[in-house]
């Protein structure tokens, strides 16, 4: 079974600073996907960024980028020029496609509560 570990239950930074959220995972698979999801207060969870394990290039979405280290099984999220609207719970997630072409769901970490201070 896969496990996902987020070692930072809560982080707080000042607006405009850069912050990095850590995530490690454990798997014996070679083909999988990794995700960062954001859950703002009282709002639904949305995808921030996605990485395929076979791609060596780190994914980037505007101010959000990842540092994917496959050998180390590490998948950290960097938020540049942080904004008040970035305040949310952030979840790292792992997905392995099953042999039938479906997916047995995502395995989530326990989350990091990120607070952006004005």
């Amino acid at each position: 079974a896969q496990t996902v570990t987020q070692s930072q239950p809560e982080m707080s930074v000042q607006e405009a600073e850069t912050v990095t959220l850590s995530c490690t995972y454990d798997t014996s698979e070679n083909n999988y996907y990794l995700f960062w999801y954001k859950q703002p207060p009282s709002r639904q969870m949305i995808l921030v960024i996605r990485q395929e394990a076979y791609k060596q290039q780190n994914a980037t979405e505007n101010r959000f980028s990842v540092n994917f280290q496959k050998a180390a099984k590490s998948f950290s999220l960097k938020i540049s020029d942080s904004q008040l609207g970035d305040t949310a719970m952030y979840f790292c997630a792992f997905m392995k496609p099953n042999s039938g072409g479906g997916a047995d769901g995502l395995t989530f970490g326990k989350g990091t509560h990120l607070i952006i201070q004005p």
């Binding site: 996907y33 639904q44 072409g101 479906g102 989350g111």
Partner: protein, 114 residues
């Protein structure tokens, strides 16, 4: 835009009651999921389905059942609610890989069992 709608945002039930949580998605997604979210535990998968009338147990299926009679609808059933099932329940849907595999979530149903 994909829309995943959960029928109730807040429910209060009594121990022993039967509880139905409904979820509907409007994007013809094959996969649908029910997760439970608890503080400090993250999201845990209860059940999932990748086709009509198909269901698979997730990590914590005990005390729950599901129904998928139509592709767009996935229901979570608590046959006899207990206080330890007080939680936030999240429904999600997705296409099969090798599409993005991205999950689209509903707003959640916060269930309190007294």
């Amino acid at each position: 835009d994909v829309k995943v709608t959960q029928s109730s945002r807040y429910l209060v039930k009594r121990t022993g009651e039967k509880v139905f949580l409904e979820c509907v998605q409007d994007m013809d997604h094959e996969n649908m999921f029910w997760y439970r979210q608890d503080p400090g535990l993250g999201l845990r998968l209860i059940y999932f389905s990748y086709d009509v009338k198909m269901k698979e147990k997730g990590d914590i299926p005990e005390g729950y059942s599901v129904s998928r009679e139509k592709k767009e609808r996935f229901s979570l059933i608590l046959e006899s609610a207990s206080t330890n099932q007080t939680s936030m329940y999240l429904c999600a849907s997705s296409l099969l890989p090798p599409n993005t595999g991205e999950l689209f979530f509903g707003e959640g149903s916060r269930l309190t069992v007294l």
